[in-house]
Amino acid sequence: MDVIVNGERRDLAPGTTVADLVRSLTDATGGVAVAVNDEVVPKAAWSGTPVSAEDRVDVLTAVQGG
């Protein structure tokens, strides 16, 4: 299924969860947040939240700035 991850279209296996997706992008355990279709998904819900086809998933982290 096609999912938009950080602005790029990716083909993910059905059943992929937010937690799976985060692990595929970064091995950081802290300092990361996820929004699916602009709604924040709390960390505690990552492993229980599957992503759906055409979802827009943004995975953000703290970087140098300000």
């Binding site: 950080n6 602005g7 992008l25 970064t26 950081a28 802290g30 300092g31 990361v32 947040a33 996820v34 929004a35 602009d38 924040v40 709390p42 960390k43 943004d58 995975v59 953000l60 982290t61 703290a62 970087v63 140098q64 700035g65 300000g66």
Partner: protein
């Protein structure tokens, strides 16, 4: 690493020790808030942060880059420096609120440095969007520290909607132009019931001291340190400048006079 003068008597030591910056009930020993943008490497950044003595430091929120190594978040955590997420890059209140929510989730803090800028060219705050975002974030329980124009009226409005501090600019972000309108900064300080943090525009140490002499409660800067030729030395200079400016403000400067006033006794 530190260059704390050893000649301070107990009165000065006590005056510095007990003079805490308080924002939303949280106490800080340092009145220098650092940013992290522009440092040549994480290692230089870490050394500069330590030299600055800062206890709170801003970070930005961006999409994860799978190729990047090391993280500013780890640097702050291992040095027990509080992370203050910003909403840099947001042009509307809606963008800023979304970014603040993500930052709260990522960094486990409800504090946010609120930036809503009008355009890429000046990076000046958009007052209408800023006030709107501030109000919405306060309603959601955030501790809001807004980066604002040096406009006493806007500063008052931000305080009225519940911001925990106001952070007027000295000059545009990264410009190093210093404090372009010290009179407005004084007006903001005079009326404010929350801490005033001079944010943006500082280029060198004398300007940080000047901000404190004008009555600001703290200074927030990044570029002046991170893009200095020797960031760690400048960080140390900034730490001392903020302390010196604060002490001078508390000491009460002499009035400015037009003519000489002899400091030695008159000849008999």
């Amino acid at each position: 690493m530190t260059t704390t003068p050893t000649t301070d008597g107990p009165a000065v030591s006590a005056a510095v020790e007990h003079d805490r910056l308080v924002i939303a009930g949280e106490e800080f020993g340092s009145r220098l808030i650092m940013g992290t943008g522009g440092a040549p490497s994480l290692q230089v950044l870490e050394e500069a942060l330590l030299a600055s003595g800062t206890e709170m430091t801003t970070v930005a929120m961006r999409r994860v880059d799978p190729t990047s190594t090391g993280s500013v978040w780890d640097v702050l955590r291992r040095n027990r420096i509080r992370a203050l997420p910003n909403t840099a890059g947001c042009f509307t209140a809606t963008d800023a609120v979304r970014t603040a929510r993500l930052a709260r989730e990522a960094l486990e803090t409800n504090w946010v440095k609120l930036e809503v800028v009008a355009d890429e060219h000046t990076l000046l705050p958009d007052p209408v969007e800023l006030l709107d975002a501030a109000e919405r974030l306060v309603d959601e329980g955030f501790v809001v520290l807004p980066y604002t124009n040096d406009d006493p009226v806007l500063a008052r409005r931000l305080e009225q909607v519940g911001c925990a501090a106001v952070m007027p600019l000295g000059a545009p972000i990264g410009s190093g132009l210093g404090i372009r309108n010290p009179h407005n900064i004084e007006l903001i300080v005079e009326q404010a019931g929350v801490p005033v943090i001079l944010d943006a525009g500082i280029g060198t140490a004398s300007e940080a001291a000047s901000a404190m002499e004008l009555g600001c409660d703290a200074v927030l800067l990044a570029t002046a340190v991170t893009r200095a030729q020797e960031p760690v030395l400048m960080a140390s200079a900034m730490r001392d400048a903020v302390t010196a400016g604060r002490l001078a403000r508390r000491a009460g400067r002499i009035p400015v006079r037009r003519y000489a006033h002899a400091s030695s006794p008159a000849v008999d």
